[in-house]
Point group: D2
Chain length 259, copies 4
């Protein structure tokens, strides 16, 4: 390869080390961060470059706690089965489960935030008019509005809890109000009840505390990581993967392909 | 497959759902956890089945913050290069980086905890005698003692900070004292300075707050996840992966294999 | 959870086992497949349910060989850095590199196949008219036409080689001809030379041998897996990850964030 | 970071590119490899630096075919559940399944090769004496001898098939004979029948064709990749992940933890 070309440089605003100190996003790690901030603060600092206010930090903690643990979810089953095959690698089992944190389950919170931060902002008018335009846009293009509908809960008990916290903590509620308006118009337009789910709350509250819509998936990824660690540790203490495998084997019907 | 065999059951103590409530490790999620616990508490609950005391929670937060962000580390470079190839999948880039959280960088904190919780406990005698036995065991079998040595920092500034917090918070310090004794004997035995690194502090403090040694890797995995999310978000705003690739290409010398 | 609900069944046409035989897609594994088919045949059988003809098999082998190994590519660097952190897990390093086989590098061959199989088929007219419609569609919506352009090679030497093989083997060439027409119109429309790259050949030939467009990514995934295994084995014999890390560290400039 | 330090170089014997040619392990890719070698040859070239003889190539193909597809195995279930959560990423689903190719299912073939290539070679004496020493070593340290035992098949029909091929193809059989001796002594020592499984055949034959024991896992990884691609494609055509999830949910019993 050519060596005459001027050498590339790599830029970052994340962190730097020297012999006796570590700087994380402009802060001395030991003097200013360790012992002074929690994991939620760290996440906010990582993705936005600044520390959150206490109310914002509490909301991030609440959102992660709300979605971290639901029992035998698909990503948990995947992680447990991966651990059965590769017990030498805790990180492999966790990564295997994390790979399912995509468009179906974790993406929608980010899509809610994008809808509120980007798509609604492109429409003129009052909040009600923006909400109406969003519902028209989605229904006319047959796209599902993210944040609406939930298989297990006709009313998602986490949604109200998170919105209550937001109000009590005195954080701005502009995006939450817009989400509620969208819900209202969608129910009216589609003529059927639609659960306003936890994903809607997370997308709206994240937007109200200033998180970029692309960072919102981070909340789901942290929640999944914590939950997956818990399940893999339970798998070590009380292995279930063989029982799961056996269940699937017994329920499987094979037939020849008809190409 | 046979269907006469009695159907397997799957057991868990993690969580369960019904139509209007979610139970996480014996607690009603909405009433008892959301808004009341933080991410560190959730991690402790996930892996141990009980909530930590406030001092324990603060130490978990401090340990995660201490190791989450160090700039352009190998796992970060891997995640950024993965994102270059697969920008459709934030979780894929994070998982790619997380897969490097293995025996070299994250495993040692777990190995410290195992050394303190299991290996030292197998020796008789006073704390000093146990420490001496551990050093003899490792040096006689030419194994490296985990928690000692650090490439960047002759003194690791995070170690003292974490031990100071532990003492100020009034948490038991038995495992930390044992680790300090091991450090003392190792320096004496090997006749050279050895950095007591952050990994030693994390293994010891985790043991003192009652975490199973296998759960200690979880602290590293959460820290990595948060840090990797931060770097992938920076990669979206300010792409560096092509510059990294270019650097490596320009510095690479190929020669034919001599099989 | 409810147990009154009728138990789910799982259907598959892939394989089944009993005490003394294994059936893979309708074939007895030991009697009909082992020793009689190669890896390329197996791939074709897996994704289409039938065995390829010899010419089709040779083309699959050729396509995988064409894209498997290019030296220090981003996915290879990621895999080597992951192995540095987690040397206990060969599969983790390979998986880490595989995660970069997404929309940027591997997806385009699948997009070529989709363009030829689905998008072009939706237009009426002669092959030339379909090709012209495709170029209009992509340029009017400012989408990049997949298969055109290549950073390293003004002429991609693999493309002609693969098309020559296809013709010599007497396989149908309808999709390849359509791809050539699209190339011709694109050059004419954009008024600049455009490399017809290996991705175009793979998308077109795969379509001509009857692979579903979604299966075409499989060719890239197999190629990557083989190449990544080779690089991780070289990393074991001759470690380079620390040198790569060092290069990046030395070339990195940190600045504080301006949130 | 310091810039005075002499810049690192990265060495490789895998591949290099220039404007009009690609060199893979000493061979011109277009002129010498595409159309002339198959995927098995490519794997051998990648890991050993030389091309295999035709008989060696046929054995690699046979070994991959023998273990690629067994229906609803744990890694397949993991990949399908991952795809349910992240349908945007075929590579993520495949990687998720690949992460289970660890010590339990894929590692043993590599362990067989290590036992034959390294451990047995350390003993003096005739082949029978080496085999006896190996059995003594494993049984006295209560380690399971890799390659012996199989849950589904009292006789593994793949083993004999692969050994027959090896003999018919006139490849050296020294490692296979050693494995058969080990099997004989193990049955005699443990006084019970032990299936000589496909893993034993793969470890022995790989050793007889000159593959380094660490490269043997590569055969399992390629086999898994091909099989996982097949299953994810079936999942696209005929989704089963929700049925699997439902099965597990219905069979799960939750109880509160007793910390």
């Amino acid at each position: 390869m050519s060596t005459t070309k001027k050498s590339s440089r790599v830029k970052t605003e994340m962190a730097t080390l020297d012999v006796d100190s570590i700087t994380v996003r402009g802060h001395n790690l030991v003097d200013e961060l360790i012992g002074k901030i929690d994991i939620a603060d760290l996440f906010f600092l990582e993705v936005s470059g600044k520390l959150p206010r206490p109310a914002e930090s509490r909301l991030i903690n609440a959102m992660v706690v709300a979605i971290a643990e639901h029992g035998m979810m698909p990503s948990v089953i995947a992680a447990r089965l991966t651990f059965l095959g590769a017990p030498e690698s805790l990180q492999g089992a966790v990564a295997s489960g994390l790979l399912g944190a995509g468009d179906t389950f974790v993406g929608p919170s980010s899509n809610v935030a994008k809808m509120l931060q980007i798509e609604a902002a492109a429409f003129d008018g009052s909040m009600a008019e923006k909400a109406k335009s969003i519902v028209e846009l989605y229904t006319s293009t047959k796209r599902r509005i993210p944040g609406l509908g939930q298989p297990h809960h006709p009313v998602d008990p986490r949604t109200q809890k998170l919105f209550d916290m937001q109000r009590e903590l005195g954080v701005p509620t502009l995006n939450t109000e817009l989400m509620l308006e969208i819900h209202r118009f969608a129910v009216q337009k589609l003529q059927r009840p639609l659960t306003l789910n936890a994903v809607a709350a997370i997308g709206a509250i994240s937007s109200d505390i200033g998180l970029d819509w692309r960072a919102v998936r981070g909340i789901g990824l942290i929640a999944r990581t914590v939950g997956l660690i818990g399940h893999v540790l339970e798998e070590i203490r009380m292995p279930q993967a063989n029982a799961i495998w056996d269940l699937v084997q017994q329920a499987t019907d094979y037939s020849d392909p008809h190409p």
